[in-house]
């Protein structure tokens, strides 16, 4: 395995970490205005992800930095190409981050309602756009021989990429509702479980449509045949399993399985892409790959050393925070904000 492959895998790992962790933050954020009946309940809902969301978001910042360092052409083409989509994403990330910090610092109902909706939009927009973005990576976008994206914002929207976007929204909703169920007490707890029973089947249908679309509209599975292998089957299987566990009221195990679903679907997309990082819809020769978009072996080696030391360290201390704040956020708890 050369360093280019190692970095492709590492970036996939960063995306997996991001979607598994921030996925439930997005889900909880989207549910906030609907599951909290009064201000105190809404604060309790926010506090279930309060200690985690900021650290979770760093996974994507690190992925962005890693793409820049390891595959500069990927970074340049992707970020300049998906310009308007990224602008929307940035606006969403900004208002959401500020909203978590600001919303409880004034009592006025309009102030709080504004920031609560900022959290909703700041969660829903990226949840949708990430699906759209990954769909586009697979489906291909107009990239010319000089590695430049030559399309516009509306080139990014197609039935396939919109299905991908909706699938990610509903998977994150299911994932987030399960997390909320595990971290809250009544009445939020039951309401969250009830939500999973409604959004879970929708998520399953959308994921099946996405898989079908991937066979029909992309070359991602072309090399794999009808039996795509273990990882994609794991994605489907774990999602069906999560549905079954939700109906047997085992939200803990169901949440473990939605983690597996998100991780293995993300992995599936990267496996389908490999060794490309962005597919050119104009000419397969013009696709960006882990070789023509990469940094030098020297830079990759340096960065490998840094990553192999610090990624495990991050996993240890972030894991510790999940242990520290493992208890449910109760109605009686003195809420910190």
């Amino acid at each position: 395995m050369d360093l280019n492959i190692l970095w492709f895998v590492l970036i996939a790992v960063l995306f997996v970490g991001f979607f598994v962790l921030e996925g439930f933050d997005y889900g909880v954020g989207m549910l906030l205005p609907f599951l909290g009946e009064d201000d105190h309940q809404r604060r309790r809902i926010i506090n279930t992800i309060g200690p985690f969301w900021d650290g979770n978001e760093v996974w994507i910042l690190t992925a962005g930095g890693a793409i820049f360092a390891a595959f500069p052409h990927w970074y340049a083409t992707l970020f300049s190409g998906f310009y308007i989509a990224l602008l929307l994403m940035l606006v969403a990330m900004i208002v959401r981050g500020v909203a978590f910090e600001f919303r409880s610092k004034d009592k006025h109902p309009a102030w709080r309602a504004t920031w609560d909706w900022a959290i909703f939009f700041g969660s829903a927009v990226p949840a949708l756009l990430w699906g759209v973005a990954l769909g586009n990576l697979l489906q291909g976008v107009p990239i010319d021989a000089d590695k430049h994206f030559v399309g516009g914002f509306f080139d990014l929207l197609s039935p396939y990429t919109l299905i991908a976007g909706l699938a990610s929204v509903f998977v994150f909703l299911t994932h987030g509702a399960l997390f909320l169920n595990l971290k809250s007490t009544e009445p939020i707890r039951s309401r969250a479980l009830a939500v999973t029973k409604k959004v879970g089947p929708v998520a399953t249908v959308l994921v099946f449509l996405f898989v079908a679309g991937t066979y029909a509209w992309t070359d991602g599975f072309r090399g794999l045949g009808l039996n795509p292998g273990l990882v994609p089957l794991l994605a489907i299987g774990s999602l069906l399993g999560a549905g079954a566990l939700i109906h047997r009221e085992h939200p803990g195990w169901a949440f473990a399985l939605t983690c597996v679903t998100i991780a293995s679907s993300t992995a599936t997309i990267f496996i389908a892409l490999f060794p490309r990082v962005m597919v050119s819809s104009l000419n397969p020769e013009w696709s960006l790959t882990i070789y023509n978009a990469s940094s030098t072996p020297y830079t990759l080696a340096i960065m490998s050393g840094v990553a192999l030391i610090f990624v495990p360290l991050v996993l240890v201390y972030q894991g510790w925070t999940y242990w520290v704040f493992r208890h449910r956020v109760t109605a009686e708890a003195k809420l910190e904000y």
């Binding site: 930095g65 308007i84 020297y298 830079t299 340096i302 840094v306």
Partner: protein
């Protein structure tokens, strides 16, 4: 306006805006660390309240620094894709390392600190704010390693049409880092110090509530000493940096002095109004020999002027205009230094009153210190615009021009749209941020520490 101009405006606007919050984070975190540590060691209630009060203001500001930083990381690829392709092999590494070493650390442990009160062992809680402080300073180090490559490229080789990393050690031990990092850190400390001084002064001047008086007097003492030490330090390291810049970017420093002709001994300009197209002074007031002294610590020595440097650079890099906007550069430099001098005077005055134990009698100073909260921010913004503008026409000094760095496939309409969106969004968030900082700053220590007002209505007995 074309995409290049709009992209430059956007970078300037978003960077200055980001750097409005970051120095306060970097400087104020040490005050929170100090009070939290004192609380841990002595167990005194006053220190706990001070930790909570300054911690609350720190958090309001911190959030803004974090979210505006996301734009910074993504905008290289969005607006400056050719730059990203050209230097990515070198420049991407410190950015990725910054995220991996620093962002994770500060974000994760900030969450632990906020939500850890009385939930985790006191030692772990104290350690978490220390890790936030270390994380944010490590972050500053790595982003300045990246910026130093743009100011003085080292550790690279030009190959395959791009700058490729050849020596990682040379990149991270770039001498420019060792003049720039101390300058940024000490100015950030001064920013935090003047914030503490200004808020404390506001309360002391109008007669702080009895419960708050001791806390604000103590904060004022801490702020005064912190301000004096950091402003002296920033003057010293700033002077070092200026001397160093004379050797690596003489054009920037010649523009900073509006020194058109090479002179020996060179005078220092106190006030110059120049005619930039004709490269001459319209009116100037100069102190003979002072610039030579600042450059070489003696009253003689040749300092090269803009015209000669332009000729040298044409000989080296080919025809072109290598002169940055001189009047902007000149005046931004003076705004930065001028603000620093006023800060030094105020810090010395405040420390003197502390030593005389007459803080509350110094109504004039207390009144001045409130608007003086803005002074370090003015100096910070002027300093950054100066150093980035003074490097023009280069984006990476001597390697790539700004005009060659912009994304070729992003239209002026797209950049313009994002500039408008960021401006409106940042404006609204700035208003919300100032509202909260003023509100909590005014409340006083006791009220914030007990967070009496913010208990939501639902905590009333009926529903709790």
């Amino acid at each position: 306006m074309d995409a290049l101009t709009l992209a430059r405006l956007q970078f300037a606007a978003t960077t200055v805006y980001h750097f409005f919050f970051v120095p306060l984070t970097l400087g104020l975190v040490w005050v929170v660390v100090l009070f939290h540590t004192l609380w841990f060691v002595t167990g005194r209630e006053m220190y706990e309240k001070l930790t909570r009060f300054w911690g609350k203001l720190f958090l309001i500001n911190f959030a803004m620094g974090v979210v505006t930083g996301i734009v910074q990381e993504f905008q290289f690829g969005m607006n400056w894709s050719e730059y990203s392709r050209f230097v990515g092999d070198v420049f991407g590494a410190p950015l990725a390392i910054e995220a991996l070493l620093a962002f994770f650390l500060e974000s994760t442990f900030l969450g632990v600190w906020i939500f850890g009160w009385s939930k985790i062992p006191r030692k772990a809680h104290l350690a978490s704010i220390w890790l936030v402080a270390i994380g944010s300073n490590v972050s500053a180090l790595w982003i300045l390693i990246a910026n130093s490559f743009m100011q003085q490229p080292l550790g690279y080789v030009l190959r395959n049409g791009r700058a490729e990393m050849e020596d990682f050690w040379a990149l991270i031990t770039n001498p420019h880092v060792f003049v720039q990092f101390p300058h940024v850190i000490t100015s950030a400390m001064a920013t935090g110090a003047f914030f503490v001084l200004g808020v404390s002064a506001w309360h002391l001047r109008r007669g702080a509530a009895p419960a708050d008086r001791e806390g604000f007097l103590f904060s004022f003492k801490v702020g005064a000493v912190y301000a004096l030490v950091s402003t002296i330090a920033v003057s010293v390291v700033g002077h070092n940096q200026a001397q160093y810049m004379m050797t690596i970017q003489p054009m920037k420093m010649a523009a900073a002095e509006a020194l058109w002709e090479t002179e020996d001994p060179a005078p220092m300009s106190l006030f110059t109004w120049g005619n930039e197209p004709q490269q001459r002074d319209v009116f100037a007031l100069k102190v003979p020999g002072l610039l030579s002294f600042l450059a070489y610590n003696r009253f003689e020595g040749k300092v090269e002027g803009i015209k000669d440097l332009q000729a040298q650079m044409e000989a080296k890099y080919g025809p072109g205009d290598y002169v940055p906007p001189v009047m902007w550069t000149y005046w931004l430099f003076r705004v930065m230094v001028g603000a620093g001098i006023v800060m030094l005077a105020l810090a010395a005055w405040a420390t003197w009153l502390v030593l005389k134990e007459r803080v509350e009698g110094g109504k004039l100073l207390l009144g001045l210190l409130v608007p003086a909260i803005a002074l370090p921010h003015v100096a910070n913004a002027a300093g950054w615009i100066f150093t980035e503008l003074g490097r023009q026409p280069w984006i990476v000094y001597g390697l790539q021009k700004t005009v060659d760095a912009v994304s070729p496939n992003v239209s002026a309409g797209e950049v313009g749209l994002s500039l408008v969106v960021f401006t409106l969004l940042y404006g609204a968030l700035m208003a919300a941020d100032f509202y909260l900082l003023a509100k909590y700053g005014r409340k006083g220590i006791e009220a914030v520490a007990l967070h009496a007002e913010e208990e939501p209505a639902a905590l009333a007995p009926a529903q709790a």
